[in-house]
């Protein structure tokens, strides 16, 4: 197994508040890694640091062994880190196909519809993205992530606002993605995480509380205390 992404001593403080402190974290190529934690545990700050949307206060980030700490967000995307927004962020006024074409860096051209096929939106390519149902907009967001052909796909709370039936479809989609890619999944939905993730990292108050397979994490007493609220 090769390490795809690594953080060493990654920290971020806002004013006096330490949102993320001293996180050492590794993602191996080909895994589906979930990052979970109670509200305010620093999950969103953590992925923002990895995707480059905010700059860390301390620590380094390595991607495929290269130090990317100082790279701006768009450069990290170019290196293969794709980020899908927690709050749906698509081009509302452009067609579904043009959304994906922009992601594939062929704007105005005829980009491959393969990403749309993978998420099941190929039939709606010419529709204006803003007129899609909410669940479909989330899928388009994922398709745009795929069109980037990323080495690491970060999904930030992808199932937020989806119906149960849509979540079932989504699980199938992520399994499919995991066959030839690496996924970093930030999620609230515990059953989903337990079912999908090969490994789970639990964040609490900006630090790693536990890490391991779903079974190990489930059995961890401090996780139960902090997150599951039992014990």
């Amino acid at each position: 197994m090769t390490v795809l992404l690594e953080t060493r001593g990654l920290s971020k403080s806002f004013g006096g508040l330490k949102a993320v402190s001293g996180v050492d974290f590794r993602v191996e190529k080909g895994e589906v890694r979930a990052v979970i934690g109670p509200n305010g545990a620093g999950k969103t700050t953590f992925v923002s640091l990895i995707s480059g949307r905010i700059a860390p206060s301390a620590g380094t980030i390595l991607f495929e062994g290269d130090d990317i700490t100082a790279l701006r967000a768009f450069r990290r995307v170019q290196k293969g880190i794709a980020y899908t927004f927690q709050i749906t962020s698509i081009y509302q006024n452009l067609s579904v196909a043009e959304n994906v074409a922009l992601a594939a860096h062929q704007p105005g051209g005829r980009a491959s519809l393969e990403p749309l096929e993978r998420v099941g939106l190929a039939g709606r390519a010419s529709q204006i993205a803003g007129t899609l149902a909410y669940g479909h907009q989330r899928l388009l967001e994922v398709a745009m992530g795929l069109a980037l052909k990323p080495k690491l796909l970060i999904l930030d709370e992808p199932t937020q606002g989806l119906s149960d039936a849509e979540i079932v479809d989504f699980i199938g989609l992520v399994r499919d993605l995991a066959k030839d890619g690496t996924v970093l999944l930030i999620e609230h939905n515990m059953p989903l995480v337990m079912e999908l993730a090969s490994r789970i990292t639990v964040l609490d108050r900006g630090m790693i509380l536990a890490e391991g397979t779903p079974e190990e994490v489930r059995a961890n007493p401090s996780v139960q205390a902090a997150y599951l609220g039992t014990g």
Binding site: A73, F74, V77, S89, Y91, Q92, L94, E98, L102, G108
Partner: protein
């Protein structure tokens, strides 16, 4: 590029070429002015219409071209073509420098920064009145507007020559705009306008694209300013004032932002309206104000923008 796009834009240019044979002397002069100013509006539209950045400081770039050309001819002893190239070069440099600084701000702050830089430039024109001759302005003498081109003597005071030079500028500007907006750059600019953070997270260097739009836009303004000074033999501080930053905004809004021909149409209509109005009132700017308010309230997409939305989806 589809045939009807080529046909439409080609037809506009051909019609303007033919107009000189039927128009009166006064109309020829008016259309010449409109064509020169339309280049300014076309450039403004790249930044405002396509990239979605509202600048209130483009008079600064227009004035750079204007004074670059006027001073080049009157002070630096350049022939008109040299002065034009010199002024354009100055415009490119000023746009790069100002763009680099101003684009650190966004939203309302960007608008105010551009306004402030432009106002500082306007005040500088007044402050260095010894050189710029302030309100009174620089008048280029007829002798300074004659130059040989490939051995053929040219005189910019000749209305027909002037008309065709202006038309050439406009034609080149339209073609460049068409190419730009249909290229990858144009599409990425629209993407930035529609959703900036998303575009950055798709791996596009948003700052670079915005700077490209800013410099293209500022350079068009400088070209227009330089042509204005040389063709109409005048450079005055009014042309550097805030009013001249607002004009291209109005022209673009009226004709239709983010349509290639919109700014040209808007410039023509507004110019004619003000020209018509100043026949019976000294408060012709009143029409500018009323037009802005009505556009924002009832017609935000402008003429061609509305036509595109309703009928001609293919319009670039």
């Amino acid at each position: 590029m589809t045939a009807r796009i080529v046909a439409l834009h080609g037809a506009v240019i051909v019609a303007l070429f033919l107009a000189q044979f039927v128009a009166s002397d006064y109309a020829v002069l008016t259309i010449t002015r409109i064509m020169v100013l339309a280049v300014y509006a076309l450039g403004y539209n790249i930044l405002f219409g396509y990239a979605g950045l509202l600048s209130l400081g483009h008079a600064m770039f227009f004035a750079t071209g204007l004074y670059g050309a006027a001073l080049g001819v009157t002070r630096l002893g350049m022939a008109a073509p040299e002065a034009f190239l010199f002024a354009t070069f100055c415009g490119v440099i000023v746009s790069i420098v100002i763009g680099f600084v101003a684009l650190r701000a966004s939203g309302v702050a960007f608008m105010i920064v551009t306004l402030m830089f432009s106002q500082a430039a306007f005040l500088a024109v007044l402050y260095f009145g010894d050189i710029t001759r302030g309100d009174e302005g620089i008048v280029i003498k007829d002798g300074q507007r004659m130059f040989p081109l490939f051995g053929v003597p040219m005189n910019l005071a000749d209305p027909v020559l002037r008309y065709n030079i202006a038309l050439a500028f406009l034609a080149v500007a339209i073609v460049l705009c068409l190419i730009a907006v249909r290229s990858k750059i144009g599409h990425v600019l629209v993407a930035i306008r529609e959703n900036e953070s998303r575009t950055a997270m798709l791996g596009y260097d948003v700052k670079r694209y915005k700077l490209i739009a800013f410099v293209l836009s500022g350079s068009f303004a400088a070209v227009s300013g330089a042509a204005y000074a040389l063709l109409f033999a005048y450079a005055g501080s009014t042309l550097a004032s805030i009013q001249y930053s607002i004009h291209p905004l109005l022209w673009t809004l009226l004709g239709g932002a983010a349509t290639v021909l919109g700014p040209v149409l808007g410039t023509a209509l507004m110019f004619l309206l003000v020209d018509f109005a100043s026949g019976f009132t000294s408060a012709s700017l009143l029409f500018v104000g009323v037009a802005l308010i009505l556009l924002v309230l009832f017609f935000p997409k402008g003429i061609l923008g509305t036509l595109r939305q309703r009928y001609w989806r293919w319009l670039p």
